[in-house]
Symmetry: none
Amino acid sequence: MSKERLYLFDTTLRDGAQTQGVQFSADEKRKIAAVLDNLGLDYIEGGWPGANPTDTEFFADAPKTRATMTAFGMTKRLGRSAENDDILAEVINAGTPAVCLVGKSHDFHVTTALGITLEENTENLRASFAYLKTKGREALFDAEHFFDGYKSNPEYALEAIHAAYDAGARWIVLCDTNGGTLPHEVSEIVTAVIASGIPGDHLAIHTHNDTENAVANTLAAVMAGCRQVQGTLNGLGERCGNANLTTLIPTFLLKEPFASKFETGVSLDALKGLRKASRMLDDILNRVPAKQAAYVGASAFAHKSGLHASAIAKDPSTYEHIDPASVGNSRIVPMSNQAGQSNLRARLADAGIDVDLGNPALARIVERIKEKEAQGFSYDTAAASFELLARAELGTLPKFFEVKRYRVTIERRRNKRGKMVSLSEAVVVTKVNGERFLNVSESQGPDGSDQGPVNALSRALSKDLGPYQAYIEDMQLVDFKVRITNGGTEAVTRVIIDSEDGQGRRWSTVGVSANIVDASFDALVDAINWKLIRDGAKG
Amino acid sequence: MSKERLYLFDTTLRDGAQTQGVQFSADEKRKIAAVLDNLGLDYIEGGWPGANPTDTEFFADAPKTRATMTAFGMTKRLGRSAENDDILAEVINAGTPAVCLVGKSHDFHVTTALGITLEENTENLRASFAYLKTKGREALFDAEHFFDGYKSNPEYALEAIHAAYDAGARWIVLCDTNGGTLPHEVSEIVTAVIASGIPGDHLAIHTHNDTENAVANTLAAVMAGCRQVQGTLNGLGERCGNANLTTLIPTFLLKEPFASKFETGVSLDALKGLRKASRMLDDILNRVPAKQAAYVGASAFAHKSGLHASAIAKDPSTYEHIDPASVGNSRIVPMSNQAGQSNLRARLADAGIDVDLGNPALARIVERIKEKEAQGFSYDTAAASFELLARAELGTLPKFFEVKRYRVTIERRRNKRGKMVSLSEAVVVTKVNGERFLNVSESQGPDGSDQGPVNALSRALSKDLGPYQAYIEDMQLVDFKVRITNGGTEAVTRVIIDSEDGQGRRWSTVGVSANIVDASFDALVDAINWKLIRDGAKG
């Protein structure tokens, strides 16, 4: 039996950008688009050209994707033709192969929010989609508030979407804009829409999570016949978020009846990159990844209860609904038992360190990681610091240099011209093979602007390390992330520093302290030590 | 028409305690039980007496609740009578009016995890519930893996629950232990169970969120006939969590068909305390509240898009599925570069600033916000900084004090005992009404530990502001968030500071700079200025 095609439409860059506190730059949008494209999404909605400078900049140099790049906009306004609507013109001018236009299908919104008649609205829809057709674009009608509209006035809701469909819209997107619709209602209403004459392979479902049913509403719509699914990575989106593609994709690929019935653009192989894609977005947003996220969360396959852990040892399917590896995730079992240690050995092998199963250092490393994680360290991303910790316990960490002291001074004051300026200065004293090195650096970048205390510290630390200086000359600080791990007055700061060298290596180290400069300094020291080990410096 | 009773069973203290990283003390359990009881839950499952010291301690002095206190345990083991099973004895001895015993109904688990025959398992169930009946307790059978069991061997799954039911179990709890069951399956299987002869008012539903369907699965079960719902506050629980009662309760009380059909123990008045109950649990766990949580999240009624905000101004029901006040939450109309002037005026009105529609300052404020957001500022959460910016453009920002300069020194060095220690010192020079104030503070907290440069700076800044000191005495820094807005060497740091005062006000301010200390300082200055305005200080 051949499978039916189910299309996946990502709106992380458009509806996801409506998340409170989220503000993507055009470059971040390009980075996210690349990840979505690798995963195998069918459509990527990049934003609304003309609505804000970021989206305009993004479309001015839109990435080349295998996925169909889609521009969002709104249907033409009353009192002008589609050809003469300047807002619509900016959307068309973005030149994307697909265009998604939002419009009304709920009588209350037509009369209350727009203040026009139902007939005028229908005519706006018809004219907008007829115009898109002349432009040769794949057209999507984002039927805002469709479900609420259908409940209020089913005749008009159907009239509106049929007007767009008949005028040439390839897809009618049934939107639960306010997120208040429940799964049984979605099921009934989608069935009614198909009965009205729009086939399921021309219907898309777009849900929001205001009752925690965005995923269930999407599944209900697909079971009722919709063949396009809209959502966002990590469920980003306005208010409580959109339908979470990070959950829907593995559900479609791994769970029945979907897995047998549908084919999507995401392969089982690409699915193994799902957890990584989810973390990439969190990294860009500097968000703490949701531990309890379905499929990809750090706790999604964490078995805390002793009864569960011992059954898992007999057969993982006793307490797991899918194989964690299928989404790039992994099982967490209490560190004390055997499976915990085999996890650790696999991780060490990744860092090129082979340790025998019986080595007592394994238990010490587990203990040490627990201690450090309780203090706020995180070795998930800071693999270089993890390696240094393991080497310390295994007795294979050379002592290259010792930091005797450092001092950073940050000043803001008026300069000679009466302008307030800031400047930092760092002094670092190290001891290498018995010799003392006293270095000082300032915080000005090449253009004279202040780059802050951590840059000054990094420069002073790597200014002269005597015999090791040649090893670290090609190394630079390329990224710097800060997270407060405990809120409130007990705040502890975790700093993750990414470094790169001339050989194209990139590595991450971590530092934790109540003092952000201290935390940064520890991560900088780890970064240098890791580089010296990799380049085979003798301790 | 009289309503049917729907019972709510909370397992935050038992299944919720299986959350990775969660460890309640007995006192915390009592505090949470009191909140659940006030809310109007029917059952509170306190834990497993005898399984660990905390649960034993909790039941030794269990709180008196209106809700039925329930002890959890497991059915008797093979080879001993219910009377002589010491694990069961500890559960009975806790003396609770209700007892919930977990047992198997999935053939694979009986033979693989327990290693006994199906007949032996059925007999264990029968004997355990017959025994509970002699003890006069309200008995619940927690049928572990029921849905997976039904899919594997429906005859045996039904045999197991009927054995418990016939022996006197008041409730059969249908558990989706691994969380892999989808809503349409729940619907079909619950229907089959009722057809087998166990009435819906003797059936409970217990789901997990591994496919993000815990809420939808619960709703499907209730629609199919189940009359008891199990879940946890904030969806706490093993792996991805249990069904979220914080979402289910308002859904049952406010959404159809549930609201018309069912009566629960939670009143519409108690529902107004839902957001507070949710935050209380986060406070106990020292967790950052989930912004996007359905109903109770800080973003649940946050309208970011300009189109939405202007419709909300006409009628909130245009973009809200319920009234936020019904769950104790409130609407947020934040700024963003999509925002129009109507959004802005609504926001200013929230801050107590009325501006006429035609005021040219409105356009200047929008421009200024765009400029600042391009530099990395974000006014979504930093409402106090937004207000100061607006006041500056409106000419209503008093000049309370001027910062002449500051200096922060951060040092790490060896102390007298040879231990490496860190210490920061901040000097701040301000000018108030022509008078100069020179203040210095160190970074040690009350316990002598280093709290870092930002704390030192905050203390020095608020040490003596002359005539304004009385206004800021009751103010403190309660949270501190850092985000690097541009990665790499161009890194710009955004700092958001939350402050609180003795009147229970909490406000957020923002600072942006390449220098994290500078960014923090600007946010601290904003925090003080906002407080002075609010308390009516004269500039």
